[in-house]
């Protein structure tokens, strides 16, 4: 193909032709050249200022073991270290506000709540919500923290301790308590488990078979009161839950109660002392109390607004026990 002039652009073609395709012999446009120069210049500035080119070092000849360090002495590690130090500084100042004061004192201080509630809530959502739920009301297998029913301790220092060392965690100071596997370890036979479950149904005010429950009462006294106390009201010293209320960790159906008795339970709450700063654990303890109080207040209002609300009487199993 001949070189020809393209009528649209006024440029010549190169004279090459493939399957009808041609190319113009257009010079590289100046903005493009300028761009190339600028880009290389920017890169060159980086090479001068920052660590960039590897080179052979004289002491390990002929291996490439060194690199140009750049004029401003930049390093990622240095930068991270500086920033972390800065952060640690800020946090240390902040932390004093929690570590220097008594938790009970802080709990009573409405200013503390106002200032720190939002950040504490973030901490909770970041670390605790996956088990206890964003509204702190728990979910199956993980206890509700807002019901004012406590396995261990409900005062702010006790909660702080639970957070710090965990329950059945790997920490030496962990709270520990577990429910034995009465069925699996053959302490009770199946009929006996059946009866004792019926008894638990009864004391928690659920549908039950009266005869079986009666038989279960004796078994309960023999095997369970050591931890769950007379009447099944629970014991905060060993973490045995109250069985007479309508708050359950494992849902409280016949089926799950049966599983608890047969296989036992030993739920784990991790210890946070290795992962959170002291001030953070303190904030979390406060947060649990703050939100718990809110929810309790809300419930109270609801109860008051509901005319003629009848609190269902619960059988506490007294008659059988005495």
């Amino acid at each position: 193909m001949e070189v020809r002039r393209d009528p649209v652009t006024g440029e010549n073609t190169t004279g090459h032709e493939w399957d009808g395709l041609e190319e113009l012999d257009k010079n590289v446009p100046w903005p493009f050249k300028l761009g190339l120069v600028i880009a290389i210049a920017i890169a060159a500035v980086m090479w001068v200022m920052l660590p960039s080119w590897p080179h052979i070092s004289s002491d390990k000849w002929p291996y490439v073991t060194d690199y140009t360090k750049g004029t401003i002495g930049y390093s990622d590690r240095g930068r991270v270290a500086r920033n972390l130090a800065l952060l640690a500084d800020t946090q240390a100042k902040f932390d004093k506000r929690f570590t220097d004061r008594d938790l009970k004192d802080l709990l009573a201080d409405p200013e503390a709540r106002k200032s720190y509630f939002a950040a504490a809530a973030t901490l909770f959502r970041e670390n605790c919500a996956m088990c206890h739920g964003r509204k702190i009301t728990g979910r199956p297998r993980f206890p509700n923290l807002a019901d004012n029913q406590w396995l261990w301790s409900g005062d702010v220092d006790g909660i702080y301790e639970t957070i710090k060392y965990g329950i059945n965690s790997e920490h030496d100071d962990s709270r520990s308590g577990s429910m034995p596997a009465f069925g699996k370890d053959e302490m009770l036979d199946l009929d006996q488990i059946h009866d004792v479950v019926e008894y638990v149904m009864k004391i928690s005010g659920q549908k039950h078979l009266p005869d079986a429950a009666k038989r279960g009462a004796g078994l309960f006294k023999e095997h369970c009161v050591a931890c769950h106390q007379k009447g099944g009201v629970g014991n905060a010293n060993n973490g045995a839950p109250n069985l007479t209320d309508d708050e359950w960790i494992y849902e409280g159906h016949k089926k799950t109660v049966y599983q608890s008795v047969f296989y036992g339970r030993a739920g784990v709450m991790p210890h946070w002392v290795d992962r959170l700063r002291d001030a953070e654990m303190r904030q979390l303890a406060l947060y649990v109390k703050w939100v718990g109080a809110d929810i309790a207040a809300q419930k109270a209002v609801e109860l008051k607004n509901k005319p003629e609300s009848k609190v269902t009487e619960k059988l506490d199993g007294k008659d059988e026990d005495e």
Partner: protein
């Protein structure tokens, strides 16, 4: 005109395929994982079928075939492009909905997002993308060389071998067979097949070029060659691994620690650079000027663009590993080369756009050309964006966020897939000898659906990425986090729904396009059109002496037409 039976070519192929067959048999025999046994069986089956058909074809008497381009393999590749495109976009939409509504994971190990995601990436890149590249590169190299495709069997081996590789990949992931290297997930035995295929592909391409009837090699072919050579090297090094046994699919990389990470991303970025960029630029350099009916804007720009791109891409893989254990100097080097890379990348943009000078009016009436023009836009955007993301301070914001996903899909949906759609609307009528596509209106619908899909997708991901990143990085004055991670998940939710919606639009558009092309292939009233240009091979020049007897050594009776005489 007679064509030889391709004996030498056939025997070489059989010799190369036999070990793969044995390997497949061994895996099927010793394998202790269901999926591995299936893979071994499939390999053995396909390779033995290939060997048998080569034998049968070789024993047929030499036939007289008309001197013409080999378009059969191109047609098959076009069909495979459609099938993989559907799978890839469909699975992409599924995982997009899964991210928006996690219940869609339906709690089965095989349908879990993590296992389905590589099915998407492999189907789109190596299924849809590679088949489109096989189709267009085979078409372009024949037309611009005025020579029939080299090899009687090899082109078919390339096509089916590659598709076998992709099937081995995607059928293994749901069962946990993966190397865990992004964009190179298939295990070692599949990698061996891919290597075999790739070398064959490279041979076909070089042999065809070597007998071209044009003095010069067209720029599109430079890009395809770069793609073929670079990927052969990348694939080999990235997949150097030691299999633990024939019983399980697992293998261990030869590299460890940060060197392994660097190898992976040296591969990963060049997979983007050569698989999703250079090769598709080749496609652009043929189909855009063809569709526009205009000469390429600047030959010189083409040269600078090509060498710049090829040289610079190799340096920049480390920008995927900013702020990691990788030494500072490697990061900075990758960052600085990324800046320069913008310029040759934009050479393609200049050439693409200004080639349209004098043809802008055609955009109004030709949706296929519109696809190509928009592809250039998205290419421009994603390369510019990529360069910004390669700067460490920007990367601190963008890395690990949906911004990267937005960038990927601006490139993938907007550039890779758009240029493919535009080219397919031209290619299909040409290789099936039709006057045009079945319906321009459907083409236009496809265009608008696809464009809305990309814009929604990318827009959502930019917003989501920047939002989540800023939320992660926000401290209150006391040095405490302002947001918990779960808050960012909440914030993403509307964007994820938008993205899934955009992706679904894109999928619907694709289905319309596929339907349109299907009706083009099977028209109510078949129309036969002559090929665009008759073949004038150059019978004397032959690089590959070993295989000159192959089908292509056409004993042409015409007077030899020397180059450019």
């Amino acid at each position: 005109m007679r064509i030889s039976s391709g004996k030498i070519e056939g025997y070489i192929l059989i010799l190369m395929t036999l070990p793969l067959m044995v390997l497949g048999g061994a895996l099927a025999f010793y394998g202790k994982e269901g999926a591995l046994v299936f893979h071994g069986g499939l390999i053995a089956l396909v390779t033995s079928y290939a060997i048998i058909s080569i034998f049968r074809k070789m024993s047929e008497p030499a036939q007289n075939i008309p001197l013409e381009y080999n378009d059969g393999v191109i047609r098959a590749a076009v069909i495979m492009t459609g099938i993989w495109g559907f799978i890839g976009f469909f699975v992409g939409s599924v995982i997009a909905w899964q991210l928006a509504f996690p219940d869609l994971n339906i709690d089965l190990p095989w349908t879990n997002f993590a296992r389905v995601r590589p099915v998407h990436t492999t189907s789109v890149i190596f299924g849809f993308g590679a088949n489109a590249l096989i189709a267009t590169s085979f078409y372009i190299v024949q037309r611009t060389s005025r020579a029939r495709l080299a090899g009687r069997f090899t082109p078919w081996m390339v096509l089916w071998g590659w598709n076998l590789f992709v099937i081995l990949g995607v059928s293994g992931y749901p069962f946990g067979i993966t190397q865990g290297r992004e964009y190179a997930e298939p295990e070692w035995y599949a990698d061996l097949i891919a290597l075999f295929v790739w070398v064959a592909y490279l041979w076909v391409f070089l042999a065809t070029l070597s007998r071209r009837a044009e003095r010069h090699i067209y720029v599109a072919n430079w890009y395809f060659l770069a793609f073929l050579i670079a990927f052969a090297m990348l694939h080999t090094f990235n997949n150097l691994a030691i299999p633990i046994s024939l019983e399980y699919a697992k293998s261990y990389s030869l590299f460890s620690g940060v060197k392994d990470a660097m190898t992976q991303w040296w591969y990963g970025h060049n997979a983007v650079g050569f698989f999703l960029t250079a090769s598709f630029v080749g496609m652009l350099y043929y189909f855009l000027p063809k569709a526009a009916g205009r000469p390429i804007y600047s030959y010189r720009l083409g040269i600078i663009g090509f060498w710049g791109l090829v040289f610079l891409y190799m340096w920049v893989g480390s920008h995927h590993l900013h702020y990691t254990a990788l030494p500072d100097w490697v990061q900075v080097l990758g960052m600085s080369m990324s800046v320069i890379l913008l310029i040759p990348s934009w050479a393609v943009v200049f050439n693409g756009f200004f080639t349209l000078n004098g043809a802008w009016h055609k955009l109004r009436v030709d949706p296929a050309l519109r696809f190509m023009a928009l592809a250039v836009c998205f290419y421009a955007i994603s390369t510019l964006e990529g360069v910004f993301m390669a700067m460490k301070p920007v990367n601190a914001l963008s890395h690990y966020t949906d911004w990267t996903i937005g960038h990927v899909h601006a490139g993938a949906l907007g550039w890779v897939a758009f240029i493919t759609f535009g080219s397919m609307y031209k290619l299909v009528p040409w290789v099936w000898h039709r006057e045009g596509t079945y319906s321009k209106r459907l083409e236009a619908w496809h265009f608008w659906l696809a464009l809305s899909g990309v814009l929604i997708y990318v827009g959502a991901m930019w917003n989501s990425g920047i939002t989540q990143s800023l939320m992660w990085q926000t401290y209150n004055p006391d040095g405490q986090f302002a947001f918990a991670f779960i808050d960012t998940v909440d914030a993403m939710h509307p964007y994820y729904i938008a993205r899934a919606f955009g992706g679904t639009l894109y999928l619907i558009g694709f289905c319309l396009g596929a339907y349109n092309l299907w009706l083009t292939i099977h028209p109510r009233t078949p129309i036969q059109m002559p090929d665009q240009q008759e073949l004038k091979p150059l019978p004397t020049v032959n690089l590959n002496k070993a295989t000159v007897k192959s089908p292509m050594s056409v004993k042409a009776t015409e007077t030899p037409t020397g180059p450019a005489e």
